[in-house]
């Protein structure tokens, strides 16, 4: 299967990429190509122009900025998985990245492409939302930042405007006594998340929950923040019974997606199971 015909331009810098997108309003941005090319081969997308940003060095790499980490949009899942900085300061990202696709896919797919594609079955969106990350965009009018909670607008639709590209993702460094976990029920053939749960638990010195986050991939059209659950956990000692009770009582998924593989009702059940497992694992890691 060939993709439909297109014209190809390779940008050497972010500035050139933005200029090319202005000159070709119908263009799509090509990074690792592991979402876009399959869609083009299936004729789900047929952009007349591709702007290849895959060689722009300034979009690569992971930097430790002290209170936050900056991840260039072109950083591959493989690089996320193997980053020493992330392993020490934000292990949630490598834990999720290692569960994407397979090693060949992870060698090519990028964090920026993943987030901008905004597939609901993708693994990184809920992780970046749980981390309260910030997305950095560059466009014809300069640069701007969008919080993860404002980034995912609908199924495969983000706040990125025509002419803009995602340049980096920043996530805050988590404090002490914090544990994180990403657990996933994956579609057995595609590997996409039918339900993926990202949990962050921060404990007080007395062992009670100081703050927590719980976000899901796969169950709704955009990543779902189960704030009811985490609000109800704060102040409590997070033993197994408490976590299970809070999830059962407070996890309400408004509009779950369903398909031939997993109905909406089944995804909600999965969400409960994975919420409990992920919160317990994050708690255990916070206690360690």
């Amino acid at each position: 299967m060939y993709p439909p015909r297109f014209d190809y331009y390779r940008a050497a810098s972010v500035q050139e990429a933005v200029q090319l997108l202005q000159a070709h309003p119908e263009a799509k941005v090509l990074a690792g190509g592991h979402s876009l090319l399959p869609m083009m081969k299936l004729r789900l997308a047929a952009p007349p122009v591709l702007v290849d940003i895959g060689r722009i060095e300034e979009l690569r790499g992971i930097q430790d900025l002290g209170d936050r980490l900056r991840i260039g949009a072109l950083t591959t899942h493989w690089e996320l998985e193997r980053s020493d900085i992330l392993a020490r300061k934000c292990p949630l990202i490598p834990e999720a990245a290692a569960q994407i696709g397979d090693r060949q896919v992870r060698h090519r797919g990028t964090i920026g492409g993943n987030l901008v594609h905004a597939d609901p079955g993708s693994d990184l969106p809920a992780v970046i939302l749980a981390l309260d990350g910030t997305l950095h965009l560059a466009g014809p009018n300069g640069t701007r930042q969008v919080a993860a909670r404002d980034f995912f607008l609908d199924l495969m639709t983000t706040a990125v405007q025509p002419g803009e590209i995602l340049t980096a993702v920043e996530v805050p460094v988590l404090g002490e006594r914090t544990g994180t976990a990403y657990l996933k029920f994956e579609h057995p053939a595609s590997g996409y998340a039918v339900c993926g749960a990202a949990a962050i638990v921060t404990l007080n010195a007395d062992g009670t929950v100081a703050q927590a986050r719980l976000c899901f991939n796969g169950i709704t059209s955009t990543p779902f923040n189960a704030q009811n659950v985490t609000d109800a956990l704060v102040g409590h000692t997070p033993d197994d019974a408490t976590i299970e009770g809070v999830v059962d009582q407070h996890l309400h998924v408004g509009d779950p997606m369903g398909d031939v593989f997993a109905s909406g009702a089944y995804r909600v059940e999965l969400a409960k199971v994975f919420a409990k497992r992920a919160l317990k694992q994050a708690r255990d890691r916070a206690q360690a």
Binding site: M1, Y2, P3, P4, R5, F6, D7, Y8, R10, L30, G33, H34, L37, P38, K41, L42, L50, D52, G54, W78, G101, D102, R103, Q104, V105, H107, R108, A189, S190
Partner: protein, 157 residues
């Protein structure tokens, strides 16, 4: 629109002008005549088209030839040296790691990539490392045996 590319495949440099939509797997098979690399599912899942690109295994049905411009590619044709099969090829043969053979080139290159990173993997690591490659014949058992056998041969040099 034609785009000039320069690609090193199995140590030999090729220069061609290609259509942007040409996939790397078709460049290898149809332009260079290296038909060892197979097209299987053509949807980035089965791994039959796996080659090494700058040392890392990739699915060449999901890479444009223009993206491989300047890259070093290794295909199954590039593994044997001076008429000697690579230890992975020898081990697949001796352990019956194939039946129809269609997945084998991709399976061997994915295994090569895995063993570069982890020269002494456990059985579980081999199974996990090859999750991007499907085989419809063997049930994987002898493939895993072959990779573990090859790992030992390669460690012993």
């Amino acid at each position: 629109m034609g785009v000039p590319i320069r690609v090193e495949v199995n140590g030999r440099v090729y220069e061609h002008t290609v259509e942007p939509r040409l996939l790397l797997v078709h460049y290898l098979r149809d332009v260079l005549g290296l038909t060892g690399t197979k097209v299987g599912c053509d949807t980035s899942q089965c791994g039959a088209c796996t080659v090494l690109m700058n040392g890392l295994a990739v699915k060449s049905c999901t890479v444009l030839a223009v993206q491989a411009d300047g890259a070093q590619i290794t295909t199954i044709e590039g593994l044997a040296k001076d008429g000697e099969l690579h230890p992975l090829q020898q081990a697949f043969w001796e352990n019956h790691g194939l039946q129809c053979g269609y997945c084998t080139p991709g399976m061997i290159l994915a295994a090569y990539d895995l063993l570069q990173e982890n020269p002494n993997p456990t059985e579980e690591e081999v199974r996990h490392g090859l999750e991007g490659n499907l085989c419809r014949c063997t049930g994987y058992h002898n493939i895993v045996k072959a990779v573990l056998d090859a790992a030992q041969r390669m460690r012993e040099g």
